[in-house]
């Protein structure tokens, strides 16, 4: 972390300076076909295969033993593991709460040897989104913002580069300009609200001009304030978006009832469906959150609900993307704050457990029915091929075609990389 600027070779130093200038000036939209994309050939399997990413984020900390790393010994959950279809891969079993995913196990790849240092919700969320531990002096960019920074917007796409579906705090653009922040959709059913002006188009434009006039003294007085400037950027961003035909991508009510049913009722199913629509319309990075994993009490009851929600929506998403021909270019990844204790506690629940947990990948050229790494027989520690949150974030960055080794300077002149120097798990890609 404490990399010394002077130690770097001249080329890297020049890159630093370019990045600083770019960040400072808010110039972030590189032309398509930029350096990063051209470099794709030499970066190993899977590099740049993910034109789009759908990140399923498990809030509260998903139990690994009851889902993707089932055990049969003393730490076994209430439900027996079920045999999963594996194709030519090495996948054996999934947790008993995931029958639909077991049916299409040949389409997913699991990393069972995840291990992290933090069992705290906020830190877990942060590190799985940015690859960095939270600090009081800087906000690190999330993956969607890294994508926009290096690759620019996808050509001819008006929609924002990244979207989050769910609530809560998100590192968003981090130290990049606020325009790279994901658009937060708090309810997938409601979609993007308030998109119809309440007056005529002409009048609307006049009102906006009037607003700028009335506000000019204030903006001048606080012209050094980045929060004020950010709001002004959001207004221009919003004006652009309002003119776009693609706004309908945010409206899942345009989907036939049969499709909506497949994804399952409730926020997460709708969120996954919304993610598919957004990807179809060119959005690069969509995060969909599923809460309710903080199962300290009666985990069997809790898993019956959440397991079904996840199983239904995740499997529907894979199949739907495949039928639309989008699975090849879309990476679905599933991450969690941490795992949960192998031992069931006195309240029939499981507590926070960062030492071992699982993440899942599908699409974008990942292997099917594949398991990378494993835990010991009770799911307490990784037994081989231990992977960190940094490796996880780097893997996604790699799939997106980002130069994960390239150092980018923050406006405060500190050096950062995608995934904090983690190693991409290229073994996941065919």
């Amino acid at each position: 972390m404490n990399m010394n600027l002077n130690k770097l070779d001249p080329l890297s130093r020049r890159n630093f300076m370019e990045k600083v200038a770019k960040t400072a000036l808010g110039v972030t939209l590189l032309p398509v076909g930029s350096r990063a994309v051209q470099a794709a050939a030499g970066n190993g399997p899977g590099f740049g295969k993910a034109k789009h990413v759908i990140y399923l984020f498990m809030e509260g900390g998903m139990t690994h033993i009851d889902t993707f790393d089932p055990k049969t010994g003393s730490t076994k959950g209430a439900k027996d593991p079920i045999k999963a279809k594996s194709g030519s891969g090495n996948l054996d079993y999934l947790g008993g709460y995931l029958p639909k995913l077991a049916e299409i196990g040949n389409k997913i790849a699991i990393v069972r040897s995840m291990s992290s240092k933090t069992g705290v919700h906020e830190s877990g969320r942060y590190i799985m989104r940015t690859g960095y531990e939270p600090r009081g002096t800087i906000v690190h960019p999330s993956l969607g913002a890294w994508g926009s920074h290096f690759l620019g917007r996808i050509k001819d796409v008006v929609l924002p580069d990244s979207v989050t579906v769910g609530g809560g705090r998100h590192p968003g653009a981090g130290f990049f300009p606020p325009a790279l922040s994901p658009i937060p959709i708090t309810s997938a059913e409601a979609g993007l609200q308030n998109i119809r002006p309440t007056t005529t188009e002409d009048n609307f434009q006049k009102r906006v001009a009037l607003m700028d006039e009335f506000d000019s003294a204030f903006r001048k007085k606080f012209n050094a304030n980045t929060d004020v400037k950010a709001y002004t950027e959001f207004y221009s961003e919003t004006m652009k978006l309002l003119k776009s035909e693609d706004l309908k991508a945010f409206d899942i009510s345009q989907e036939p009832a049969s499709v909506r049913e497949k994804y399952g009722a409730g926020g997460f199913g709708s969120g996954c469906l919304l993610a598919r629509r957004l990807v179809e319309h060119g959005v690069r990075f969509v995060e969909v959150q599923l809460g309710g994993w903080d199962m300290h009490n009666t985990i069997d009851t809790a898993m019956t609900n959440n397991g079904e929600t996840l199983d239904t929506a995740f499997s529907a998403l894979i199949e739907d993307l495949e039928s639309k021909g989008l699975l090849e270019s879309t990476l679905i990844c599933l991450g969690s704050e941490f795992g949960r204790t192998p031992d069931v506690n006195q309240n029939d629940g499981r507590d926070h457990y960062p030492l071992a947990y699982s993440t899942v990948f599908a699409g974008a050229g990942t292997k099917g029915g594949y398991v990378y790494g494993s835990t010991d027989k009770d799911g307490r520690r990784p037994a081989d091929k231990q992977a960190s949150p940094q490796d996880f974030v780097s893997t996604i960055g790699h799939a997106m075609g980002l130069p994960i080794d390239e150092v980018v300077m923050s406006p405060s002149n500190r050096p950062f990389t995608v995934g904090d120097k983690g190693t991409a798990i290229t073994d996941l890609f065919a």
């Binding site: 924002p160 809560g168 309440t198 009102r207 009335f214 007085k221 709001y231 959001f234 031992d343």
Partner: protein, 737 residues
């Protein structure tokens, strides 16, 4: 301001000239430097060279002779004394105890600017801070103080009343008036609810925390001292509907260690979450110490334990009997089982103390000072060796049933090294936008605060007002520092701040919503959510009573459901919010017209209004937190999962809500309160003044008057709607100066 500047400069000179003797200093290696002595700070000496730079290094690096010389120098006088009263002129202090205390704090702020800020700025090549920012004018004052004290902008009438008041002490009077108003309670509730992660529907449990919410509101409106409130929360027994304070521990039922980590973070500004799983990587915290603190809660249970296969202590087969009876009565068990279980299950959440401490080291404990499974005795943590003689630590820990009382007595003791300081630092941050020590959740070493003297003084003030939240804030709002203009300079994240004025901040989600409510309702506090106590009144079952039978359970459940229907009718969210299987048996799924009518009459008899599916009440009267998609959620209201979890970051959906959302539509409709005020004004110029006074709490500038005139000439009444729209959408509206 001129006198202030002179005063500060003199003070700065005073500090250095008293010790201006240049001498040659020699270090242990024989190297020499010419410099003047500035101060000894802890183990370090600070010297100043001729170029004005100060240098700080370990005293032990100097030769023995120089060390002796340095020690013989008088330490710099307490910096507060170094600032003459003249430095603080140009500002009239309230003639009250609060005004006098405010003056004392201002001296420390001014001293901090001289002592801490300007030397640091000089090193970075930044110009020195020349004193407080200009005192804000009445227009800035009235808007900021309403937003900061009662959480909303002032109404048109309130703004006008303040401007027309010519009394010299009208600012102090307004602060007093606002602190005693209903709006203060609402705003303070929002703050504590965000800090304590207060929710109506708890994450894990099928139990609602309505009575915890009500309890918290009641304490705030009674202005219960903070130490008493916290003590109540830590020691409460029973169910929430018997004692609302029980909600604090039940909020995290089954997550005792997380609850403890939050307790230390929120009340003691000490973040030890890492120590739950391992020794703290940075601070001197060990996992053992964390468990020693946890041991104070080791004899406390938050749920009735399930006995061998049956219910808790009472009738073991009760639920089976209930199911059987319900089926016999023609109910479809598949439809009602969940609801019944939730109803009965809610009554499992009960705090009780036993005589057996269950605290043991975790199975993966890996340090040498204990083995997994070892019992852990309760022990308070210390921040410094002096704490050994601190009276807060004199607690009896003998009785297992009284462990929590000991813990609460220690934590809330006025002399606890962090308790008073933490809440004082938090409330300071609430007024200024940044704490003296940051982050407020982890003060760590008070000496590393941007102004350690100020931090300690704030803790002292908190103690001397005996944890009276209103009195403490009265002091803060009466300081010169607070009543100065907001800083226009950008302060980088994590950089220390020295309080020459508050920082510019975006309104919180609640402030933004409540300000809209003010524009729509005038006095939004007059509208109260109805029936907030019904849940607690209808849910109670005594599960420990062996005589509790199936018939009683079913009858009570039926009554509970009727009330739930009534509540659902008024929460605006409809039946979907009350769980999937509301009904005992099929039939109508809609609340009756009578229920809906009852539900819309507020607690004080005033009809609750709604617009576009949203109830027009202050945020504190709405569900905690509001649903996704609501204005409050879009504007960053905390989902209440993490401490202080709100966000003030902008985004596209917010902008859309401001441009096209329901709140904006309400204001631009002809029947709106603001349009009625416009209609009442006599001529176009007065009408324009009205729009500006209502929305921006100031009169328009000459240039703005011209723009407004142009609009109205061209578009007539539509011009007023456009002006309202435009002003609501300005950055000036959403940021608090």
């Amino acid at each position: 301001m001129k006198t202030l500047l002179t005063g500060l400069c003199l003070a700065a000179l005073g500090l250095s000239s008293a010790f201006a003797e240049v001498r040659t200093w020699t270090d242990v290696q024989g190297r020499q430097v010419s410099a003047t002595f500035v101060n000894i700070e802890g183990e370090d000496i600070v010297l100043q060279t001729a170029d004005g730079q100060t240098h700080r290094f370990a005293l032990t690096r100097l030769s023995a002779e120089d060390q002796a010389f340095a020690k013989a120098q008088k330490p710099a006088p307490a910096t507060a004394d170094a600032v003459p009263d003249a430095a603080l002129s140009g500002f009239t202090y309230a003639k009250s105890a609060a005004g006098q205390t405010a003056l004392g704090l201002d001296k420390l702020v001014a001293a901090g600017i001289i002592k801490h800020a300007n030397p640091a700025r000089a090193k970075e090549g930044l110009p020195p801070i020349k004193g407080f920012n200009a005192v804000m004018n009445d227009e800035q004052f009235v808007r900021r103080v309403y937003l900061d004290v009662i959480g909303r902008i002032p109404s048109y009438d309130e703004t006008l009343a303040f401007f027309q008041n010519k009394a010299p002490d009208k600012r102090a009077k307004l602060i007093d008036q606002l602190l005693d108003s209903e709006g203060y309670n609402s705003h303070m509730f929002n703050y504590f609810a965000e800090m304590l992660r207060v929710k109506h529907r708890l994450d894990q449990a099928n139990v609602r925390a309505d009575d915890y919410v009500n309890w918290l509101k009641e304490q705030i409106s009674k202005n219960r001292p903070w130490n008493e409130m916290v003590s109540d929360m830590l020691t409460a027994e029973g169910k929430m509907w018997h004692n609302g304070a029980a909600g604090y521990l039940l909020r995290d039922a089954g997550m005792q260690l997380d609850n403890l980590a939050n307790t230390l973070t929120v009340f003691l500004g000490t973040d030890v979450a890492c120590a739950q799983c391992h020794d703290h990587p940075f601070a001197d915290w060990t996992q053992k110490q964390f468990y020693e603190l946890a041991s104070f809660f080791g004899a406390t249970s938050t749920t009735y334990r399930r006995g061998g296969g049956g219910m808790m202590g009472g009738n073991a087969d009760l639920m089976d009997q209930v199911y059987a009876m319900a089926e016999k009565g023609g109910a479809d068990l598949r439809r009602i089982r969940n609801g019944l279980n939730n109803f009965v299950g809610a009554n499992r959440y009960n705090i009780a103390d036993t005589d057996k401490n269950m605290t043991v080291l975790p199975h993966d404990y890996k340090y040498k000072d204990g083995k997994p499974g070892d019992e852990v005795a309760p022990k308070f943590v210390m921040w410094s060796p002096q704490d050994k003689s601190n009276p807060a630590y004199k607690q009896n820990k003998k009785s297992e049933e009284k462990l929590r009382q000991s813990f609460a007595a220690w934590l809330t003791h006025p002399e606890n090294p962090r308790f008073a300081m933490t809440i004082a630092n938090r409330l300071w941050k609430r007024a200024f936008g940044v704490g003296v020590a940051e982050p407020v959740t982890n003060i760590d070493d008070p000496e590393k605060a941007s102004n350690p003297e100020l931090l300690k003084a704030l803790a002292q003030v908190m103690k001397s007002v005996k944890f009276d939240m209103k009195e403490f804030q009265r002091v803060i709002f009466n300081t010169h520092a607070y009543q100065s203009e907001a800083c226009t300079e950008e302060i980088p994240m994590g950089a220390p701040y020295y309080f020459q004025g508050p920082q510019l901040r975006r309104m919180t989600a609640e402030q933004a919503w409540d300000s809209y409510m003010t524009l729509v309702l005038g006095q939004p506090e007059e509208y109260k959510a109805p029936l907030s106590d019904l849940y607690g009144k209808s849910i109670d079952l005594d599960l420990t009573n062996p005589k509790l039978d199936a018939m009683t359970v079913l009858m009570k459940y039926s009554a509970f459901q009727k009330i739930e229907k009534k509540v659902a009718a008024l929460t605006g969210g409809g039946l979907d919010m009350a769980g999937g299987d509301m009904m005992m048996s099929g039939g109508d799924d809609k609340p009756s017209a009578a229920d809906t009518a009852a539900a819309s009459v507020g607690a004080n008899g005033k009809q609750v209004l709604s617009y576009g599916g949203n109830r027009l009440l202050r945020a504190s009267e709405l569900p905690q937190p509001e649903r996704g998609g609501h204005f409050l959620a879009e504007f960053g209201q905390s989902p209440r999962t993490l401490i202080d979890g709100g966000s003030r970051v902008g985004n596209v959906p917010q902008v859309l809500a401001m441009m096209n959302g329901g709140a904006q539509q309400m204001l631009t409709e002809r029947s709106s309160l603001i349009f009625r005020a416009i209609d009442a004004a006599k001529d176009p110029a007065a009408k324009v003044d009205t729009v500006f006074l209502a929305i921006m709490n100031r009169l328009p500038t000459l240039q703005e008057k011209d723009i407004a005139k142009r609009e109205i000439t061209a578009h007539g009444d539509e011009g007023y709607a456009s002006m309202i729209w435009a002003l609501i959408n300005t950055r000036e509206f959403i940021f608090v100066q």
